[in-house]
């Protein structure tokens, strides 16, 4: 895996990965999310979602957390791209 372009978590499709880089949310919300594992440097995998892709479940730090698009839109990250050899995460 290599780190790629800078994205928002909302842009991830099911199965795609990213490393959290920042939370642009009110302090109380950001703290809540950090307690759930959304901490800069931590890897996130986009999971299943409600029909239409919103809200979406994200796997982070061994847990599963559902977020609305308007929340995941404000969490920035670096997309993780599998290398050509397809190495394991």
């Amino acid at each position: 895996m290599t780190e790629g372009e800078s994205i928002r978590l909302a842009e991830l499709d099911e199965g795609e990965r990213a490393v959290v880089s920042g939370l642009e949310l009110p302090e109380a919300v950001a703290e809540r999310l950090m307690c759930l594992g959304f901490i800069p440097g931590v890897e996130v995998v986009a999971g299943k979602s409600a029909p239409g892709g919103d809200p979406r479940v994200f796997c982070v730090d061994g847990g599963h957390v559902a977020l609305r698009r308007e929340t995941s839109q404000r969490i920035s990250g670096l997309r993780l791209v599998a290398n050509a050899e397809g190495d394991e995460p």
């Binding site: 950090m34 901490i39 800069p40 299943k48 409600a50 919103d54 730090d61 599963h64 559902a66 977020l67």
Partner: protein, 631 residues
């Protein structure tokens, strides 16, 4: 990890001399979904009660267990928390209790911290904060069965050394390993002596510390279960997900009506015949009338809903404990968002079809205060089980039982369904109004942790049903008994020559006549008026009230009350009465719980006024238009 064998507790301080006084009380602390409540129930069983801290809306349970010396140890179940920052009310309350600053609750002597062993990295952050409080602490790592079954590993002794507290693996749902709590409260325990602690107010650093401690304990996270992924693939499938959701919602109602109704009918027959034989033992005259017509009939008219309420809580309990409701909330979020609410409101609103009281308590999972109040305010519009008998009685009296949609749908069922839809629409419209005016939020979040799928345990379901049934029976035994007795008394006053008056001359009738001008435009006479007033205590009381007022034989109350209703109401008046009940806030228990949960009289007052005015206005419109259409 010898789970299920001898109590496996790793205590780094075994050889250290005791430095703390004996433990008299412990607090159970842990994140949501860690099995905290399951542990608490296992420890205390039925020896527990619900309590509220003064001045806050956070509810907690207090229970008791006996230590090996036979002494009673108080166990406080604190709210589920992720961290100990004073921003959320739950976390502030937890800190206040643990630091001994909560009025009326002495500081606990020790803490039992329960964490989810399948997700240790994250939960160790909470451990750091709790251990830093400096109280003797026992760390329990729950779901040890899932940890081992799914290939996770952990060196408990290494973790205990790093945390400086005793640590034990348990499986609370199966009751495995929890006797370490007994040992903990039966001996003097050392204060925690952690090897290292992180800077507590720096979350990223806490996380690094947690990862280091977990690594130092050879922690390997279990592989997520295949079943969990398979179930999610169905429940959150683009097409199957919403279908399952609909099937579950419809199934809940089906269950309550097709299973609950016959049970309620059976209970009614049983209670009626009990009442008759009770009357047989009493001499005639006023005593018999007081006991049978006043107390028994009033209370049993409400008791017959117990089966439906128990059934609904059973179904919702299974859905919640299994982990499905969290997925349902995800599916429902988009729809709920359109009316300005949160997907999490789906759970309380579904419960509100049984009873608004537990529904309003269930809104605690909604963090956004405005979303939560909006949900609390609209919950009583959902057609609760107390409206059901009123609807049934009026519909049976006024609507002929002919089919209108082939064999599928009778006119009565259509009318009933229409009333359910009416209540739901009122809730949706009210939510929209509230969320675009006084309860507008700048942005509302939907952050919901998906719990792992688990089998619901009989014990936790049983305790929940016991809790709810007890609350319901207490209400029937107090509020409803009091109203029934008072009404009976008022129908027997003033005494004329030592004899009770004709009902038309009683205090109740005088009172009803005084309010007649206000309700005449709705097509209601004084008897209905009295029923409206007594039903403020609880909706279903109107039935026993009308029964008493019509002076009918209690055994035939249901059948002949329908005939009597015809002389009290026109068809348009009956429609107006139904609409009135769909909208009006006639439930003191709900008002009391809204006051408790919002911690002010303002919201219940607004709710009562709004719903009453809406009910009056709608009933007025229905009657006035109805009389012009059908005469």
């Amino acid at each position: 990890m010898a789970l299920g064998e001898a109590p496996s507790v790793a205590d780094p301080a075994e050889a250290v001399p005791a430095v703390t006084p004996r433990i008299r009380s412990i607090a159970v602390v842990g994140p949501p979904n860690s099995g905290k409540t399951t542990l608490f129930n296992r420890l205390t069983g039925l020896r527990q009660k619900v309590a509220n801290f003064p001045g806050v809306t956070v509810e907690h349970h207090v229970g008791y267990l006996r230590n090996r010396q036979g002494e009673e140890i108080a166990v406080i179940d604190l709210p589920g928390i992720y961290s100990l920052s004073p921003k959320s009310e739950d976390e502030r309350v937890t800190i206040d209790v643990l630091e001994g600053r909560m009025a009326g609750t002495p500081r606990p002597d020790a803490i039992v911290l329960i964490l989810d062993s399948t997700n240790l990295n994250r939960h160790l952050v909470l451990a750091a904060r709790v251990i830093a409080l400096g109280l003797p602490t026992l760390v329990l790592l729950n779901l040890a069965d899932a940890l081992t079954a799914q290939g996770g590993t952990l060196d408990v002794l290494a973790l205990a050394r790093q945390l400086g507290t005793p640590v034990a693996l348990i499986a609370a749902a199966r009751g495995e390993g929890i006797d370490v709590v007994q040992n903990f409260v039966s001996s003097r325990t050392a204060l925690p002596a952690p090897a290292t602690l992180p800077v507590l107010n720096d979350l990223p650093r806490c996380r690094e510390w947690a990862a280091r401690v977990a690594k130092g304990s050879c922690y390997r996270r279990p592989v997520p279960s295949v079943w969990g992924r398979r179930l999610d693939a169905v429940f959150l499938h683009p097409y199957a997900g919403p279908l399952v959701f609909l099937a579950v919602v419809i199934g809940v109602f089906q269950c309550i009506f097709t299973l609950g109704q016959p049970l309620s009918d059976g209970l009614r027959n049983l209670l009626d015949s009990l009442g008759q034989s009770l009357g047989g033992y009493l001499a005639g005259g006023w005593l018999r009338s007081l006991v049978v017509d006043g107390a028994w009939k009033g209370v049993t008219s409400v008791l017959i809903f117990l089966p439906q309420i128990v059934l609904l809580f059973l179904v919702i309990g299974v859905l919640e404990d299994s982990g499905y409701l969290a997925r349902a909330a995800v599916i429902a979020d988009r729809t709920m968002k359109k009316v300005g609410l949160n997907g999490k409101a789906f759970i309380p609103l579904l419960s509100a079809y049984a009873c608004a009281v537990p529904a309003i308590m269930a809104t605690r999972t909604i963090e956004d205060k405005r979303d939560r109040i909006a949900t609390i305010l609209i919950a009583p519009f959902m057609t609760c089980s107390a409206r059901l008998p009123v609807y049934t009685m009026v519909i049976a009296a006024f609507i002929p039982d002919h089919r209108i949609l082939g064999p599928l749908m009778g006119a009565r069922a259509t009318a009933m369904l229409g009333l359910y839809v009416l209540g739901f629409l009122a809730a949706v419209v009210t939510a929209r109004i509230l969320k675009s005016s006084i309860l507008q939020s700048r942005e509302s979040q939907f952050i919901l942790e998906m719990p792992a799928y688990r089998w619901p345990t009989l014990q936790s379901l049983g305790l929940r049903l016991f809790d709810r049934s007890r609350a319901f029976l207490v209400r029937a035994g107090t509020v409803i008994l009091a109203v029934s007795l008072m009404l009976w008394g008022l129908t027997h006053l003033p005494l004329q020559h030592g004899q009770p008056p004709q009902i038309q001359n009683s205090v109740v009738a005088q009172f009803g006549r005084a309010m007649e001008p206000a309700i005449r435009p709705l097509g209601f006479n004084w008897k209905i008026g009295v029923g409206l007033v007594t039903s403020i205590a609880a909706r279903e009381v109107i039935i026993s009230t009308l029964g008493t007022l019509n002076g009918l034989d209690p055994a035939q109350q249901s059948a002949s009350l329908q005939q009597a209703l015809h002389s009290e109401l026109s068809l348009a008046g009956a429609m107006a009465l139904l609409v009135f009940f769909a909208f009006a806030m006639q439930c003191t228990s709900t008002l009391a719980v809204v006051r408790r949960e919002t911690n002010s009289w303002r919201w219940p007052a607004i709710q009562f006024l709004y719903m009453t005015l809406l009910a009056y206005g709608a009933a007025l419109a229905v009657y006035q238009i109805g009389t012009r259409l059908v005469g």
